[in-house]
Subunit: 204 residues, 2 copies
């Protein structure tokens, strides 16, 4: 299989963590693909017209997206383990995963907005992103104990990558100050080999 | 159960179509909730800190989101029918569903961008959204026959709502001209009672 990949995308990182946790990392060839909101990438678009990464090209040439679908597909390929099959455990994991993706969506839009030229930037929009991010942190802090006690799975992977992205691009938020229990949980997740080997790195 | 709802959100519409197709519409109380990117809504945020709709509040007070998780939850509650359990059929349906949500994400951002004041609007960004949308239409046109032959499910519901949103907010695109087979498929989907009764309406 072929994966449209980048070392800095948090959505791609979820897939890379799943691959390692499932023992499938040698099944996928990574293709460096740049997806920027302003520049549709024809190479990605051959497989995903929305020009987003990750996109996974299967051996028959068909392509899967988005990251949530790819993670679930890989889990099934490996015989399961990261996506609980049913019951309360399943909805809790899927909600955390969606929570993480939704938080990442806010952060990515925030970053794009902040990168706009002075005249084009909307401070009201940035305020809205900040309010949502802080509310998300408060809610996740209140769920840190539940995260701790639930069996490791896709919800943890999603939130681990979302908080990792906050460290990578939003260090100025210093989120740990307002979410100490979440920070303690995150430190344990971030120590897993699958997380350590996929940590994004700023260019020197 | 309580659903943060609006008559014009295409993501909410997916949930409403699922409820009707599954025979669950009398199980959910709709609460009119306005989610605008610029204005975080405290009432929604009590249940979903990201301030997005749909958000489904279960009888025990816990809340599920996003729309994909809610649709899958409702499907399980009804004993299944819209989410294929396994195999190629499953990944095809989930890919179409994610394709639909991704296309909707592009269209919503496009609309927000177009609504900005003259100085704040990025024409380059709008061009990028248009390129992705047209590529998505070309791809979906090539898949119209596959959509036609697959058993009705969440992929069809997603794409039906995405194309319905294009009719609602992007009529000027006249997408049917470039995607006649997709248009024929859409006409049959749109004739289902679940789609007819959830069609968004412009204010007079």
């Amino acid at each position: 299989m072929k994966l449209h990949w980048s070392p800095k995308s948090p959505y791609v990182r979820k897939v890379m963590v799943c691959l390692q946790e499932l023992g499938l990392d040698d099944r996928v060839e990574r293709v460096r693909s740049v997806a920027a909101m302003l520049r549709p990438n024809p190479q990605i678009m051959r497989d995903n017209p929305l020009s987003k990464i990750p996109t996974l090209v299967l051996d028959d040439g068909s392509a899967l997206f988005d990251s949530a679908v790819i993670c679930e597909y890989l889990d099934a390929l490996a015989g399961g383990g990261l996506f609980p099959a049913r019951g309360e455990e399943k909805w809790r994991a899927l909600r955390w995963h969606a929570f993480a993706d939704g938080l990442l969506d806010v952060l990515i839009l925030w970053r794009n907005e902040a990168d706009r030229g002075d005249g084009q930037r909307s401070d009201a929009l940035i305020d809205a992103f900040r309010i949502k991010t802080e509310a998300a942190l408060r809610q996740l802090e209140s769920e840190a104990r539940a995260l701790e006690s639930a069996p490791f799975g896709i919800g943890h992977i999603g939130l681990g990558c979302a908080l990792g992205y906050m460290d990578f691009r939003f260090a100025f938020l210093q989120w740990r100050e307002r979410a100490p229990q979440l920070a303690a949980w995150h430190a344990r997740i971030a120590a897993r080999p699958s997380f350590r080997s996929t940590e994004p790195v700023l260019e020197g």
